[in-house]
């Protein structure tokens, strides 16, 4: 994936596209397991992460407003098929990769490691 000179929305992050395609969204999972919680259990942790990132402001090359604008743009385009808050989570991941904060290879490696840990 190349991010040089591209608008964040124009960047493709294959690792995230694969997640979208597998579609383990909360409405699907909650329906399958008969759960009634309206949002997934990781929602407040995502809220905490967004707040913590916004507070990191000066250490990043993009601002709070950039992140929210990108979330809007990505939720309306690339990730339009995802419900909320999955679209917020994936848009955040997309922004972090597109701005070079996280490398896609590093993200893939970590996704595998976290899944292996949770399934152990």
């Amino acid at each position: 994936m190349s991010t040089a000179g591209k608008q964040p929305e124009a960047v493709t992050v294959e690792a995230l596209d694969e997640i979208v395609q597998r579609n383990q969204t909360w409405p699907v999972m909650a329906g399958r397991y008969g759960v009634e919680n309206p949002v997934p259990p990781w929602k407040t942790s995502l809220d905490g992460m967004c707040d913590a990132i916004d507070r990191a402001g000066d250490d990043l090359s993009f601002t709070f407003n950039d992140r929210r604008d990108e979330e809007d743009a990505l939720s309306a385009t690339r990730y339009a098929d995802l419900p909320y808050p999955e679209n917020q989570l994936v848009a955040l991941a997309h922004s972090l990769v597109a701005h070079g904060v996280i490398d896609e290879t590093e993200l893939r490696r970590r996704l595998d490691a976290v899944r292996a840990r949770l399934e152990a």
């Binding site: 399958r32 913590a52 916004d54 990191a56 809007d72 949770l118």
Partner: protein, 220 residues
């Protein structure tokens, strides 16, 4: 319980770990913000307005010094998490409705919201649909929440921003004479304090509205 590990759960953890390793925040900071997100709810805001309806002195305080009134119901805007949140600034104004004036809040720019006292914003508050259209066609948008206001009621849309937060103090409805603060607080739902609903005796839940997706290309 969902007995399956989803990609989204994994992604949330992976992102968080990588951000911590890169020094964007610490695990303790994240935990603190998450605790804040889990604890806040509309209750303090409802109590604030209920008390203002009953106590003219407190109402005066609420309308002139929203931060002091918030503190009286247990919310300290200066220290909501113990070290402040990045997007909840401490200029808070409560907007008083009258029989001929109705307020409704929005953040046209992003999703600024009086979180310390009202909790996390609802999903629809964050949508471009609400944010873009409310400032231009407030009556149309309010009607989508089932709120039809008479023509002689002026609608004022207050746009929040990174420096200023707002909340609505609705008119106390008829049929609530003699009610206690607890009873009044029950009908002051989140939506009433945003301004997309009016407090109504017997109604203690938020409006159910179908959230429209953000704008899609016309080709969709």
């Amino acid at each position: 319980m969902v007995d399956e590990i989803t990609d989204f759960e994994v992604l949330e953890i992976a992102l968080r770990e990588l951000c911590i390793e890169k020094g964007l925040f610490t695990a303790a900071e994240h935990r603190h913000f998450t605790e804040f997100a889990e604890q806040i709810g509309p209750t303090p805001a409802a109590r604030l307005v209920a008390r203002a309806w009953l106590d003219p002195d407190f109402k005066r305080l609420a309308l002139t010094d929203g931060l002091a009134a918030s503190k009286a119901v247990g919310v300290d805007w200066l220290e909501p998490t113990g070290f402040g949140t990045p997007s909840d600034f401490t200029a808070f104004k409560i907007l008083e409705d009258t029989p001929t004036l109705h307020h409704v809040i929005v953040c046209a720019l992003c999703s600024c919201y009086p979180r310390p006292i009202l909790g996390n914003s609802p999903e629809w508050y964050r949508t471009p649909n609400y944010r873009r259209r409310l400032v231009r066609w407030p009556r149309q948008v309010l009607s989508e929440f089932g709120l039809e206001l008479p023509a002689d009621v002026e609608v004022r849309v207050e746009d929040s921003n990174q420096k200023h937060r707002f909340m609505v103090m609705p008119v106390r409805p008829a049929g609530t004479d003699g009610w206690s603060e607890d009873q009044l607080a029950e009908i002051l739902t989140r939506d009433c304090l945003i301004g997309v609903a009016l407090p109504t005796p017997g109604v203690t839940t938020n409006v159910l509205t179908r959230t429209r997706p953000a704008i899609h290309p016309a080709a969709d």
